[in-house]
Every structure is written in structure tokens, then in C-alpha cells.
Symmetry: C2
Subunit: 404 residues, 2 copies
């Protein structure tokens, strides 16, 4: 199928009828944007995917409860404090953030979703957060996507946002998204924070299905450090302002929108992987010809998550033995004696055995800002791609002193 | 039960009737011991536990086949090359190592077990290894345990050996062991290389059961970097020279010997964790009052394996949120709102919520060479202990350029 996406600017405010803002409230640092607000001018359908960690942040618990209704109008987010392991007070604080947002926007409290990211187990500075929410509401604008994307950053080195449009039944529908990542990023979850907006008309159950599909192929295929956060969530709001016939079942529009949503999530997931804490390179691992999709996914994720693969990539060392080793313990089924491995376009192993290859050429593949690894299992017809980053001394530096 | 172990020196040569040697054959580096040989003067019972990685080194495949017979007299080991992903040639080379050992020791080839550790996917320098084996055989002695322990090291900074004796039915039985670890160390496997010798008389099936028990509580509870190697193996040889009545069923002697074997494995496992690549600290995580042994093990292993916990320990940052986060994604079942956490003797969280604690005291706990973490799940009566190390910039340095 030819892709008919058109690039857009504006992130979460690219779709019609969405406003956003990002302000500095001093949650953890002075003068750094740390409260983000997304607002739909009309009620929107809502869907969400959440962390699988047994320990969940208070905002996750509150938002999970609310998303079940399938509708929302606003998302309020703070960075600098995860509001996790704060007991009953944490739940009260997450609710208070929603209440204050509802009050200043004059909408029902249940229509507000809440997210937090930052340090675990420290009380929320509500005396700074609540005024921050009011300030964010005053700054809401149709150009506020970039400021909102900045406000959700923690150790991210750059904001992550994207937007594109697709034509559904003759109507132009736009999808925008923003995400934050950096550390505590690991597959098999709804990961980190990501907020998607679209002006498509789509039912809440369809939106939820599409989001699950997109997240499984994007955020659930990245790893920075193997740690699954307590606060991960991906939320999608669809306000129907594009005017397209509402999608309520699996028709052509459903697939067009789902593919576009998957593209938005994949772009943001790649951006999160590339900007992993301390990372200097994006690592893309594609596993092909697996016996099942599960095998392909397991193998791809194990390779991107391997500390030894990640350090070798950092060191530009074509140590492909670590790649097949990680695939071997991934739980995927395959015949080790049939595996071919490529670094970029250079074949380094055939049928599980070393080829003599040009070490210099391999090093120059590994010197790039993006390193592609292809693992051909030659045992079926399924494939999967995972993204990660190299492991550097800077990752250690960042995390040795994060809290203090 | 009162422990009646007596400390011994001599490592794998501490038990009666075992000789060992370690020589420099130039496998990878010049002038560094890299061939180890263990020899029992009489035929011995043998047991083994092997990597669960789908990709297995050639020596693993050869030794797994041979151990099924339950007997062996010699173990030959090289460091510097894992003999893995070398295809059919790898199998031929592993067999050739056994053949040469059998020839120089004048014993049947099937009585020789083989192990290799080092880089994956590079041909074995057999022209240097075979003469090395002959040289090792010439140097076999009852004081050769230390040289053998040195010869199996790769990035280890120190040799790891231990020995103790225990009284069984009035007979003094000695157990000795040596191990190498450092990188590619992760729970849920038979891990790295470890060789145990004992002069106890014990049947091969009982020895295998005891070894499985000991490994599950020791090597399978350590992690350095989350990567399960292709070459892990733990072998035990029992030659009966102590003269005790042969253990053939679960009697009092069985339990005494199993406990002593578990102690030997635990000491070596701790030594491997402490000497993890780049490590500056040993991390011991004990999970108590879990609903099942599985829950206790899962939680303890997830905490010691977490990159974020490991970097916080390195940075002496009492970031306990990362500890509960790791327990939360471990797969263990527990109520997050009941968890208590201690760093050393300092309680830092009660019922899943932060306590205000003395940050300086906590930092001084974390400044030690051994850091103990206690996680009380308060949901049952099972416990487990896992061992790991901190994650440092030096780990990255070592692994960014291991192969070259």
C-alpha cells in the first residue's frame, strides 16, 4: 500500500481543536517547563495503555480508572516527580491535579487525565503544581504543542513530537503526538509517557484497539535499560473535528488510521530510543524469517536490550557473537546453525558461523549515528523490529546521581 | 543445625586424590595462564549443570553428552576463546582437546570433560592449545589448584577458589571449587564456569541432585549484566577417596554434603558477583516474607539485575524507589502497599511509602564494599537472596572494546 501521509508541524496541537501549553512551575528545578496541559475544545474519545509494573504511580491508577469511560477533554502532566509510592496522599494529589485542571478549564473532573514522571517516593510539591496548572490553562494555544513537549522532559536531551495527516473517505485527518523517555525504558509494557491527539472521528473501542496495535509495534519494541517504569502510559484523544465518517468497525479507514497512528508511535518510540540516557547511537535490530511473530519479537527485543551488545555498539566493535548470544537466551525458538547476521549491509555470520569480513568496513558501519542489525533466522516468515541505544559511561553518570 | 565446616586451602586440589595445573599457552595473550587441567587419580562420579541459552558453545555440547554417563576423571579448560559459533570445526576442536588430554593422561577419552570461555565466533588456535594441554599434564600437582583457578580467568580481576571439609559418618570429606565470572552473568541458568571437586563417596544421581540444588541457590541467584552466556557450566567430580559410606539416598550425610556443596557454590557465586566487570561493590538483596519461593526469587533477582538500582548503588544514592520498581516488574506477586525496604539496617520505606530517614547514614551504608538490601513483602513466609554488583563506567569501558 502506498503511504499517503503528509508531514505536519505542531505536535499534539497539529490536529484541529486541540490546544496545549507548557509552563515552568518549579516542581524540581527552577525556570524549567514542568507542567504540560493538552485540551480538546470539544469532548474527545480517549484510549490508553499503561505500565504492566505491579507498582503503579498514583496518576496511573487514577487515569486507568477514568479512561474506562472512553472519553476525556484534557490531560495534565508534571515532570520532576513521579507521584509514586506516596500512599493515599499520592492518590489525593493526583485527584487534586485533575480537580484544579477541571476548575480552571470549566469541564467535568472525570474528563481530566493525569500523568507524572520523575523521582519515585517523594511528596508532590502541590503548592507549586496547582498554581502551575492555572498558569498552563491561561497559556493554552493552538501553537502550544512544542512547549508541552518540552514540559514533560526529564533527562531527555530534546523534546519528542511529530505529526502527520492522512485522508480518510476524502477528509483530511491529522494525528499529533509527543513523548518523553530517557531511562526506565524497557519492552513489554505501555512505556514512558506519550500523548497522541487526532481530529479523526473514531469510536472509543476502535481507538483503544488501534492504540494497542500501535504501541505493541513501537513503544513495546524499545529498550533503554531494561527497567520497566512505574509510571508509563500512552494516551490517545480523538475529537472528531476532521469531520470524517466516524470509524466504528474494521473498514478501510480503520486500517488507514491505524497505520498512521502506528507510524506516529514508531517515530516517537525511535526518538525515545535514540535519546536514551547517555546514548550516542540509535540501534535498530530487525529479525526476519522467524517461525512466529512471538519468536521474532523476543529475539529482536533481547538483542536491543543486551548490555553487552549495547556496549559493543558504543565501542564500535563488530562483536556479533553477543548478538547471537542474546537471541539464544531470548526464549525465541530457532536453529542456531542457520542464523545469518548483518551489520548494516555487511554479512558477518552465515549459518551461525563467523565469516571473514572487512573489520574496517564493519567499524565504519558502527561509527554511524544509526546502527542497523539484521538477524535472519531462516526458519519461517515472521519479522519484528526493535529499537534501542548504546550503553555508555554517561548512562552511569546520569543514574548514579539522579535523585540528588 | 550447627555448621560443622572446617576451612581448607587448595581450591580444587584440597580434596584427596585431585591434581590440577594451570599453564600459559598463548590462546589470546602471551604469558598469561589460559589452560587449566583437573585430574582425579581414580575414576570419579560426575554431575553438571549447563547454560539454558539456545546457542551453546561446542564444549558445552560435548560435555553435556559425556556427563550423562555420570563419570569422569579429567576436566580441561581454556580461557581466551569460547569455541562458540564455530560450526562443525568447533565440535571437532572440543573433541580434539579431550583426545589430547586423554592421550597425555592415558585415560579413556569419554572420561574427559571440556570447557572454554572467551570471545565468541573466532577459530580456536589449536596449534597452541594442544601443546598447552600436554604442558598442563606435566605440571599436574596436588598444589595446582591456585594455578588452575588463575588459568580460567578472563576479565576477572582475581581468581576465585574455596574449599571446606565436613564430617560424614565419622569421615572427613572435603569439597573444593573454583569459578570464573565477570561478564555475561545473569540468573536463570547454569552460570559461567565453575568446577567442584570432592573426595566424598556419592552416587552420580545424588551428586547431580545436590549440584542442581546448590546452583539454584547460588549461581542462579547472581547477575552482573543480564546476559546469559553461551558457555556456562558448573561441573562436580566426586572421587570417593574420603572413604565415607557411599551416599545413594537422602539420608543425614546427603543433607550434610548438600549443605556444604551449597556453601561452596554460594561463596564462589558471591565472589563472581563481587568481581563483576567494572564492579566496586557487592550488592546483596534479600527478599523475605514472600508468598512463595518463586516470588522471593523473582523479586530478589530483578532488584540485583536492575541497571538503575546498580547505578544508584554505584553513586551511593539511597534511591529506594528503583528497588520497589524492579520488584514490581519482576513478575512476583505482592501488595505494593505493604512493602518495607531497608538499606543495611536503615528502614527507608514502610508499607510502600517513603520514610524520612537520615540521608547521611544511608549514604554511609552505600559507601561500603558490601551493600545489603532487605525487602520485606509481608505477604508470606518464603525468602531468597540474590547477589550482584554496581554498574560503573568501567563496565562500559571493558565491554566497548573486549573483542579487539
Amino acid at each position: 500500500m502506498a503511504r499517503t501521509w503528509e508531514e505536519k508541524s505542531g505536535g499534539v496541537t497539529a490536529p484541529q481543536g486541540f490546544l496545549a501549553a507548557g509552563v515552568a512551575a518549579g516542581v524540581k528545578y527552577k525556570g524549567r517547563r514542568d507542567i504540560a496541559l493538552i485540551f480538546s475544545e470539544v469532548p474527545a474519545r480517549a484510549a490508553g495503555v499503561f505500565t504492566t509494573n505491579l507498582v503503579k504511580g498514583a496518576p496511573v491508577l487514577v487515569t486507568m480508572e477514568r479512561i474506562a469511560r472512553g472519553r476525556a477533554r484534557a490531560v495534565v502532566v508534571n515532570s520532576g516527580n513521579a507521584n509514586t509510592c506516596n500512599g493515599e496522599q499520592g492518590i489525593r494529589d493526583a485527584r487534586a491535579m485533575a480537580q484544579e485542571t477541571a476548575r480552571v478549564l470549566n469541564i467535568p473532573e472525570e474528563d481530566v487525565l493525569v500523568a507524572s514522571t520523575g523521582v519515585i517516593g517523594q511528596p508532590m510539591p502541590m503548592d507549586r503544581i496547582l498554581p502551575g496548572i492555572a498558569a498552563a490553562a491561561r497559556e493554552l494555544s493552538s501553537g502550544g504543542g512544542a512547549a508541552a513537549a518540552e514540559a514533560i522532559m526529564t533527562t531527555d536531551t530534546e523534546p519528542k513530537e511529530t505529526a502527520l495527516s492522512v485522508t480518510l473517505s476524502g477528509y483530511t485527518v491529522t494525528i499529533g503526538g509527543m513523548a518523553k523517555g530517557s531511562g526506565m525504558i524497557h519492552p513489554n509494557m505501555a512505556t514512558m509517557l506519550c500523548f497522541i491527539t487526532t481530529d479523526a472521528a473514531v469510536s472509543a473501542p476502535c481507538l483503544q484497539e488501534m492504540l494497542r496495535h500501535a504501541v505493541d509495534r513501537s513503544f513495546n519494541m524499545i529498550s533503554v535499560d531494561g527497567d520497566t517504569s512505574t509510571n508509563d502510559m500512552v494516551l490517545a484523544l480523538a475529537n472528531g473535528q476532521a469531520g470524517n465518517p466516524e470509524i466504528t468497525a474494521e473498514n478501510e479507514d480503520y486500517h488507514l488510521l491505524r497505520d498512521a497512528l502506528t507510524e506516529v508511535c514508531t517515530r516517537l518510540a525511535r526518538a525515545v530510543a535514540r535519546d536514551g540516557e547517555g546514548a550516542t547511537k540509535l540501534l535498530e535490530v530487525k529479525v526476519i524469517n522467524a517461525a512466529s511473530e512471538r519468536d521474532a519479537r523476543l529475539a529482536a527485543r533481547a538483542v536491543v536490550a543486551s548490555n553487552l551488545v549495547k556496549t559493543a555498539i558504543y565501542g564500535q566493535d563488530a562483536n556479533w557473537g553477543r548478538i547471537i548470544c542474546a537471541a539464544g537466551y531470548s526464549g525465541a525458538h530457532f536453529d542456531p546453525d542457520r542464523v545469518d547476521i548483518y551489520l548494516g549491509d555487511i554479512m558477518v555470520a552465515r549459518d551461525g558461523v563467523a565469516l571473514s569480513f572487512d573489520e574496517e568496513a564493519a567499524s565504519s558501519v558502527l561509527a554511524g549515528r544509526e546502527v542497523r542489525v539484521l538477524v535472519d533466522l531462516k526458519s519461517g516468515e515472521y519479522e519484528a523490529t526493535a529499537w534501542g541505544c548504546d550503553l555508555t559511561g554517561e548512562y552511569v553518570n546520569i543514574n548514579a546521581s539522579y535523585r540528588t
